[in-house]
Amino acid sequence: MAKNQNQFSGGNSLNQLYVPQPTARPDGFNDFSHLHIPDVEQAACPAIDCSPHDMRDLAYGLIRVLDDDGNAKGNWNCKIEPQRLLQGLKDMLLTRMFDERMQTMHRVGKISFYMKCTGEEAISVAHAAAINFEDMVFPSYRNQGILLARGCNLVDMMCQCLSNARDNCKGRQLPIMYSWKKGNFFSISGNLATQFSQAVGWAMAEAQQGGNRLATTFVGDGSTAELDFHSALNFAATYSPPVILNITNNQWAISTNQVIAGGEKTTFAARGIGFGLPSLRVDGNDFLAVYAATKWAADRARAGLGATVIEYFTYRVAPHSTSDDPSAYRPKNEEALWPLGDPIERLKTHLINLNEWSEEQHNILIEEIKIKLKKNYKQAESYGTLKTGDRPDVTTMFEDVYEDMTLNLRRQRQEMGL
């Protein structure tokens, strides 16, 4: 949140269209000194049935639990058992290393495309930890941490990325566009934000049927401009279904800074205030804060009190995708100066402070994950890669367009000689 967030900025005094600009471009320097990071103790933690109107400040502040020294503090500290934290650390590390492995596989031409979530691991992993496995996730493409935290089979994930014979999407989707029904994880769409409004519908159906599950859904800062974001907030405000509407503000949408998404003069959490929804703004690199905010929203949803909007403030350390090179549009050093740090390092320090973890154990864990990834990847590759060309059976190409193949498609399949 910019220091001047409460002051008016922008305007057309220069007789030209005002077009907001990021703090710095590659030729400049950004140490984020314009950011005001509130104290850990600052944010109040209201009761889940608090009036959204009375908790509006939370949309402009920053819910934090871990302070700069890695100690848990403040009103949102929900004192998670160390075992859970440790699991979170492992899942975050797995996520990061999974990303790195797959990125390498792209570099060597085994997969066609990849998207990392480096620096954003706490959001997915802590969120997943704070809800139930039965809760339905309507993800964006940067929520691989949820799959991993839910224990999705690594080989399955890799096979999806390889579009190979074992890909459960049958080679039809770009890598990382996972679908995992058994894991209550919705099919990822290439069209931004469409899942946001669908999640609200799912939650409406849950209320309609008297169930106790909730839906949770994610979009990026840039994607909040899409239409489905509006539909989602509107329907959520109207019908009060059990849904958590998450915005991952990693400050970039490909080359476009969040100031262009309408993030210059207010926060993304504030969008929820526009609809009278309770809205939280959270340190997205703080595992404990993400967990606490999610838990609060989940409790609220399960109590029949409706939707919550959560903005996670973070930084997209990775390039947008393997097709992207951020050095063309932002200073190279930005992530190093980013004041909210690295979510893995922060949780690690906290666990070490608690005497629940050590550098040594951490290094062993890294080695274990390496081996596990290697082993799994080897197996996945045995089902084929882009290079070997082992793919799902080509006759499946005409399936699943409709439940039963139409005559038209049968004819086309025949025409193709299959």
């Binding site: 459960n168 069209n191 409004s197 669908q198 519908g201 839906a215 509006h230 329907f235 109207t238 439940e403």
Partner: protein
């Protein structure tokens, strides 16, 4: 059997399904307490409660998106889009999501939504209450596109739509709600009680998709059409005295190849008629199918009679509308060719 007009048949289909399957729900603008601006859901909220039938914000995108989400959670939503002219804000959710979900997820997920929407002109609705955009949706693979021409078919097909596990867009030619329309606006209008398809069973029945109806058997010419135009074509055929076979497609996607091909192979002549604008309309696809499959039997060029390539003009509604005159002219041209 009961006498029903098309609205009553549509209402009856929905009521039948609400009764049979508690997963069926209805949402849309003004569909709840009021029962819809055309009253196609009249009384349903009173009978089934707001948990089954409810109003939505005016967001066609949100309606379709919510319906998709609800279907993922086990429900079977019927979404009403108040006019087909207002379906465009929902286009992304229909074309990118509903149509592709089953495919992209390798069959893990799919959506069963039924989108009901009144289409077509002839009610002085001007350019934003008269459109027939079916041709935009027939180009989107993964959805079923249906347009009935009478109460009996409307109910049977709507029940099939609701029971289908694929997304369906169900176009309702609003000019037919209260009676068949024979293309002559100056003649007194008649009710569905004058038409044999106005007899509609009370309970559950269904008509499979992909089966056209031959509403008039004939030997000299095949006329392929759907919706309001089925009746307008009847008038034109009578005007010409030609022994034409009239095929009411009913289901545009999937389409009934056999009925089309067999008929044209028999008659050797073919006319295609629809109310939508001509260029790129579904008529082009029908014509193409006939040409590709019946070329050697064709004795004259296939013609298309359709709405002109202009927005539906309020004051020139009947000049825009492809009425009996234009159709009979085309019939004569084809017969003389």
């Amino acid at each position: 059997m009961a006498q029903m007009n098309m609205l009553e048949a549509i209402l009856s289909a929905q009521k039948t399904m609400l009764e049979r399957d508690d997963k069926v729900i209805i949402l849309g603008e003004d569909v709840g307490y009021f029962g819809g601006v055309f009253r196609a859901t009249e009384g349903l909220q009173a009978e089934f409660g707001t948990n089954r039938v409810f109003d939505t914000p005016i967001s066609e995108n949100g309606i379709v998106a919510a319906a998709i989400g609800m279907s993922i959670n086990g429900l079977r939503p019927i979404a009403e889009i108040q006019f087909a002219d207002y379906i465009y804000p929902a286009f992304d959710q229909i074309a990118s999501e509903a149509a592709k979900l089953r495919y992209r997820s390798g069959g893990e997920y799919s959506t069963n939504i039924t989108i009901r929407t009144p289409c077509g002109g002839g009610i002085r609705g001007g350019q934003t209450h008269s459109q027939s955009p079916e041709g935009i949706f027939t180009h989107v693979t993964g959805i079923n596109v249906i347009m009935p021409s009478n109460p009996y078919d409307a109910k049977g097909l709507l029940i099939t739509a609701i029971e289908s596990n694929d997304p369906v867009i169900f176009f309702e030619p609003k000019r037919l709600y209260n009676g068949p329309f024979y293309g002559e606006p100056d003649k007194p209008s008649v009710g569905w009680d004058t038409h044999k398809k106005g007899e509609v069973p009370d309970g559950h029945y269904s008509i499979p998709f992909g089966e056209a109806a031959i509403t008039r058997a004939g030997e000299e010419l095949t006329i392929i059409t759907y919706g309001t135009m089925v009746h307008v074509v009847e008038t034109a055929v009578e005007m010409t005295g030609v022994d034409a076979e009239i095929i009411d497609l009913r289901s545009l996607a999937p389409i009934d190849y056999d009925s089309i091909i067999n008929s044209v192979n028999k008659t050797g002549r073919c006319l295609v008629a629809h109310e939508a604008t001509k260029t790129g309309g579904f008529g082009a696809e029908i014509l193409s199918i006939v040409q590709e499959n019946c070329f050697w039997k064709l004795r004259a060029p296939i013609e298309r009679v359709a709405g002109w390539d202009i927005p539906y003009p309020h004051a020139f509604e009947w000049e825009y509308f492809p009425g009996p005159k234009r159709i009979s002219n085309a019939i004569n041209r084809i017969m003389e060719a």
